[in-house]
């Protein structure tokens, strides 16, 4: 089962390489820019994932605290 999943992952990665095409692009992305982007995007992708993760945690905590406050308010009103 594990082996099959691994094969699928490899196939997907290989497919992304095959799918890379020029489309209608008419400007030169620049060799150095192209290679640099591949490198920097992997770093920035990781940072972006962390940012989203942190945002979600913050949102969840804010929701929790506001719900808590809401319950407190409800209690006080009672």
């Amino acid at each position: 089962m594990k082996h099959k999943a691994l094969m699928w992952s490899f196939s997907l990665i290989a497919l992304t390489f095959v799918l890379v095409r020029d489309a209608c692009a008419y400007i030169d992305p620049g060799t150095g820019s192209y290679i640099f982007q591949i490198l920097i995007a992997s770093v920035l992708g990781g940072l972006f994932a962390l940012k989203i993760f942190w945002k979600n945690i913050k949102a969840a905590l804010t929701r929790k605290s506001s719900t808590g406050e809401g319950q407190e308010d409800d209690k006080q009103q009672q």
Partner: protein, 461 residues
């Protein structure tokens, strides 16, 4: 099929997906078969409506295919006209920053719809109703999984590098756009930026390391176009560019002109009277468009805008233009477009055949030009003889509101304080004679409490 009365627009030839052309004075864009799928996706995915609703993309309507300029045509569209074309070397810092952020917002929205921007030229952005709008409907292509952003280099050259230079080195470096048609080369930006920018991860990566990578792979072709960028990496790149642009700031200080109104010898009464005169002249001429030359922070541009006139508010001082733009943006005043312009060296035609980007004169003539408190700067500070000033103004407008500032005025005295007075012809009679060669003087009014005269003139036919 090719229409003899049509002419292609000189600045629209690089992208084989289509081009702009004029027929019977109407602007059309041909969309070629080459990007049929991209155009169809833009229109059917809801992306077009989303961007137009948010005021980020110029709206268009489809026109008759019989207008096609050749067999490659897939569709002909008629985009909404942009009332005045301006260029990045005429924008202040915040205009370029807003244009950059609009480009990234469009890119993010397009990415969510499975598309992307295939170019990110600053020239594709224009200010319409005070907001940056993408005017190139053909800038979209279907996103291919794993493909890096093809316009990353162009975005850094057209937006990030000039903004960083304006913010961290000198705001006047926006003028580098006039030399480099495809944006500021990153190696040049890297060498001009102060050392402290190496300590900022965003500028270190997108400019300094990016420039090094360009230099390193300049001659290499091996191994190019291998590797891919994940969806997460792609989003991370756009998000990083956005936060980098947002972090760049520049504050207009009090410069020679931006605090001009505090230094003039105008009393409040004289200033109010001057406004009354200018207002009544505007009401008499009833122009649709106005160029306010030497507009400073836009005090008199407001008079035209309040009358519903589209007003291009030019000034040489980037600080004054920045203040004017921020003031208009905050007030939601979309009828004023503040722009940086040195009248003694106005924007020339640049790019291929000197025709890709129009000169100032080519964008005229305007219905009415205002030259208030300007003549002494041209004639005395810059030694331009009065007949030449008159000839230049006659070439760009039909109506003219111009203020003559005599030698007795303290502002002229200030200009003459450190130099020899070699201007025996700088007096009212010579002024009127010089302008009468090109214009009919319709009205003249003296400003109360000042020695100045304001004229309303109409160009002789």
């Amino acid at each position: 099929m090719i229409n003899s009365s049509s002419s292609s627009v000189p600045g629209s030839f690089r992208d084989p997906s289509g081009f702009l052309f004029l027929r019977d004075g109407i602007l059309y864009r041909q969309i070629n078969q080459l990007c049929k799928d991209d155009y169809d996706r833009l229109m059917t995915s809801g992306l077009y409506e989303r961007l137009v609703d948010r005021g980020l993309l110029i709206p268009h309507e489809e026109a008759d295919i019989s207008l096609a300029q050749g067999p490659d045509a897939y569709r002909i569209i008629r985009p909404r006209l942009v009332p005045f074309l301006s260029y990045p070397y005429e924008w202040c810092f915040s205009q370029l920053k807003d244009a950059a952020l609009a480009t990234l917002e469009i890119q993010q929205i397009a990415f969510d719809a499975g598309m992307e921007l295939k170019d990110s030229s600053a020239y594709n952005i224009q200010f319409v109703d005070g907001k940056p709008v993408l005017i190139d409907t053909l800038s979209f292509e279907i996103y291919q999984q794993g493909q890096p952003w093809v316009a990353y280099r162009q975005f850094c050259q057209h937006f990030l590098a000039p903004l960083a230079l304006m913010s961290c080195t000198d705001v006047r470096l926006s003028q580098m756009f006039r030399i480099y048609i495809d944006g500021v080369p990153l190696d040049l930006a890297s060498s001009l930026l102060p050392k402290r920018t190496w300590a900022r991860f965003s500028l270190l990566s997108h400019i300094h390391f990016h420039a090094k990578s360009q230099a390193r792979y300049a001659e290499k072709t091996e191994g190019v176009k291998r590797g891919s960028v994940s969806t997460l990496g792609y989003r991370g790149l756009i998000d990083s560019l956005k936060s980098t642009v947002q972090s760049l700031r520049w504050s207009p200080g009090g410069t020679e002109w931006s605090d001009y109104y505090d230094k003039t010898n105008y009393t409040d009464t004289a200033l109010e009277h001057k406004k009354e005169i200018v207002g009544s002249f505007l009401d008499a001429a009833k122009p649709s468009t106005v160029w306010d030359l030497g507009a400073n922070t836009g005090l008199f541009s407001d008079l035209a805008a309040q009358r519903g006139m589209l007003t291009i508010s030019f000034d040489i001082d980037p600080s004054a233009v920045e203040k004017n733009y921020l003031r208009c943006r905050n007030a939601g005043e979309g009828r004023i477009i503040p722009l940086v312009l040195d009248l003694t060296n106005p924007s020339p035609g640049i790019g291929w055949e000197n025709r890709e980007r129009m000169s100032l004169q080519e964008r005229g003539p305007v219905d009415l030009a205002m030259a208030l408190a300007l003549i002494h700067h041209l004639a005395i500070s810059n030694n331009v003889p009065l007949p030449r000033v008159a000839r230049f103004l006659a070439g760009i407008c039909t109506w003219l509101i111009i203020e003559f500032v005599p030698k007795e005025d303290s502002q002229v005295q200030r200009l003459l304080a450190t130099r020899e007075d070699v201007f025996p012809h700088y007096e009212k009679v010579s002024f009127e004679r010089s302008f009468a060669e090109f214009f009919t003087i319709e009205r003249a009014a003296g400003v109360e409490g000042a020695k100045r005269t304001i004229y309303l003139m109409r160009k002789k036919s």
